[in-house]
Subunit: 361 residues, 3 copies
Amino acid sequence: MFLRNHWYVAAWSEDIGREPISRVMLGELVMLYRTEDGWPVALEDRCPHRNLPLSEGNLVGDVVQCLYHGLEFGADGVCVHVPGQDNVPDWARVKRYPVAERNRWVFVWMGDPEAADEAAVPDYSTRLVDPEWITISGYQVVRCGYRLILDNLLDLSHLAYVHARTTGNAALAEDAVLTTEAEGDRVRITRWMEDIEPAPAFRRFGGFTGNIDRWQVSQFLPPSYININNGADDAGSGARGPEQLTSRGKWGFVVYHAMTPESATTTHQFWAVSIPERMVPDAERETFHAQMDTVIPEDTVVYEAQQAAIDRDPDAHDQDANPKGALAIDQALLEMRRVIRRLHRAEQGVAPEPNTGRTLP
Amino acid sequence: MFLRNHWYVAAWSEDIGREPISRVMLGELVMLYRTEDGWPVALEDRCPHRNLPLSEGNLVGDVVQCLYHGLEFGADGVCVHVPGQDNVPDWARVKRYPVAERNRWVFVWMGDPEAADEAAVPDYSTRLVDPEWITISGYQVVRCGYRLILDNLLDLSHLAYVHARTTGNAALAEDAVLTTEAEGDRVRITRWMEDIEPAPAFRRFGGFTGNIDRWQVSQFLPPSYININNGADDAGSGARGPEQLTSRGKWGFVVYHAMTPESATTTHQFWAVSIPERMVPDAERETFHAQMDTVIPEDTVVYEAQQAAIDRDPDAHDQDANPKGALAIDQALLEMRRVIRRLHRAEQGVAPEPNTGRTLP
Amino acid sequence: MFLRNHWYVAAWSEDIGREPISRVMLGELVMLYRTEDGWPVALEDRCPHRNLPLSEGNLVGDVVQCLYHGLEFGADGVCVHVPGQDNVPDWARVKRYPVAERNRWVFVWMGDPEAADEAAVPDYSTRLVDPEWITISGYQVVRCGYRLILDNLLDLSHLAYVHARTTGNAALAEDAVLTTEAEGDRVRITRWMEDIEPAPAFRRFGGFTGNIDRWQVSQFLPPSYININNGADDAGSGARGPEQLTSRGKWGFVVYHAMTPESATTTHQFWAVSIPERMVPDAERETFHAQMDTVIPEDTVVYEAQQAAIDRDPDAHDQDANPKGALAIDQALLEMRRVIRRLHRAEQGVAPEPNTGRTLP
């Protein structure tokens, strides 16, 4: 179940250059490169002549030359030269995808090009390019459907178990007050933990010795973006209310994730942890990097084991979930899945889901 | 074609401990561990909440804690704690499989739990724990359907070709008198070879210099157990009749196999060769181990090449056999396949196969 | 879409000997070996008893003995001995494939054995065994349908891009005069390039310093054979007309390819480049070999990337092509595909394609 009329992250800005690269997005072959002026270009990665991916070829100026028979395509996808003949047939063109670039992410519009709206490009990930912040970031292809990753990021109680060595401890799962809010197609879940023990990373880098107040605000933006504000302060002085959206308190960080489906059961994951420079003393910087780098692999084990288990279940729901029921912690992820189903039905021109009062998985 | 209402070996006793392991049995995800008291437990390896295999988690006493969100399940499969909420919903439980342990094998009942009968646990493999016997044993996942392995063990003429360097020679295939007997759901084939040359292993370890009488009694017990008594004596003094079931003569050994289907075309194989300690002189023990360890890989090549050939045959019968016809040596394995079909039809509530007088594969 | 009533190359002569080998041809398991007298034999590689490939077994004289139960099959595929029983049942036989050997290639007839015609064995590849010629040859299994390789060899404009470091330069694609001819089931395309710059290999080994005339004559013979005559001479003295079929001019070579489908999307490729010995000075021989050895891997990248792209296209035509349209350079390959479709319909007893005037892919 892919939503098409949306901007998806195709690559980190620095991974696109004058050497074309190929990515499968929503099942489609996409070639990415930059023009001589540095503008990112996304074209269908399939020569219309004999199917060779154009990314196997080379750039000649801003034109990509197919490796096989030398057909040349401009950055608009239109063939400008067929070797050995004077005319260029009408069919010699590839799909051009609208492209945008914001805050180190290159976005590609995967739906109807006419509907592409630059104003809709997600630009919340401002700390990725903030010179006063440190960012640890990465890219991986995960063997699971994209919604399993969204589930994870909308239910941070998992830190208590999956990341118990770094950012989590039992209090996160046991003692959190949850507030789930939906606003249009956005979903937000706020986790407030009062007067709890600090998790290992908070102790080490935040310098907490006594109990803390801690907050996590996880926001979902369709089709598959996540933005998490994490903050902590000495117990009794934690930020509450709207302040939680932007304050890190004495120590905290923000997390950005963008998931782009490759196939129904594989996903491109772009992730980042950003933290104000002053919150990580120079002497601790290397250790901080090392710790944060262990977090994503810990989650990846979970995602892929879930997908493998679902693949073995003949009753699985749409290849990326078949829970037997829901818990209180699932409110935000259930709402996220409702939003995606609603948007999908709208794209497909299908009537909205009836409101049965039942909680669907 | 799996038989469900049966005990299957899930693991060697020593392979189950306080670290949960995961096995796919008859297509189902099964987690295995031991309680603090040492009792083996088998649970559905899939958290009902969001599908993570519980075997990814940890034991807290006798309770398994899901790695993802910390749900805790008792050894009966019932959830006893959901972090962050007071009540435990009814759906929060996993299937508990009946378990039994006998002679170093841990058995799991894969069918209706109500029908599990401890008295039916196969316990013929007594030599596995006999202190006066040496046992060489192993476990492997084979890329073939389980019946291809049963075929092999019910037709030991293959020793002449597959194991010519150790336990076989041409006489086994050319000069054997075969007797096939069926008793209820059990099948027995006796191979009697009179006054033949000893195979290499019999010469080396049995110390035979002249001709021998040799016997092999291979017994099948549903769903997929094999028990083989192998004996040899100087020509003219070999054991005959009921004595063949238990006597090794001057030199011989017993073989135990348990096959548990993982999928239609992959199988867990648990195997053992047991021999009276006095029959392997200390100085020969290492060589004996080394020779026996070559036998299973020799068979595995055969099983997997058969399965690959069947996979390429669009006319293949039920994914694990499509012979053009039967030979005299096939009587026992054909009977074994008849028994399995009969039991399968009974489990499915289907009328018995008509007796057409034809030999089905 | 396989053509069955044809001779296919199964192996290079030197790759078949007294150790049986196995090849999957047109989806069928084929075993190949030589009799004691050196005659090649091709049998169905599947024991009719219990499906083990016979190639796992051993030769006893000219008889192959199954590794599993010792059944022995003569070179005619008929079982001559079943161990342990006197009679050999009628069903104990495997398919024997007609075999022929010409010019270092061993051919197998994959259709109705009655229809096998030795006179139809392709024997055009005479330079493979010409003592005055040097041949560089190879074998590989390519992950693409066989027609993608034929396409490549019937459109040599690709040398300009794929082999720009050796046998190609831009002039091959831009300045060629093409003539496509069909004669019965054969297709020939002649490429004539007048007064062009010599490509790197022609400069280095042909010793050209000034411009050249160059010709390439690529011929297709069903089901999947290619024969290419390549020649060059100083500009103004190139060979034209029928002479192009056989003359290399001052410097040139011939290329032979035989493609045997393994499956719809994998292909055995047998390839060779032959050149008159006098055209490669001793001092250059090693470099010439090295250069020619880079050519096939350059093509393989293209074939396999094409197939992977087609596999991702739900609208793909018959798994090995779905172009949006045709170019002038495609005339020969389109004709080749028409011939194959025509022969396939004839084999299947289907009425010929209607002549719609449209160019099908």
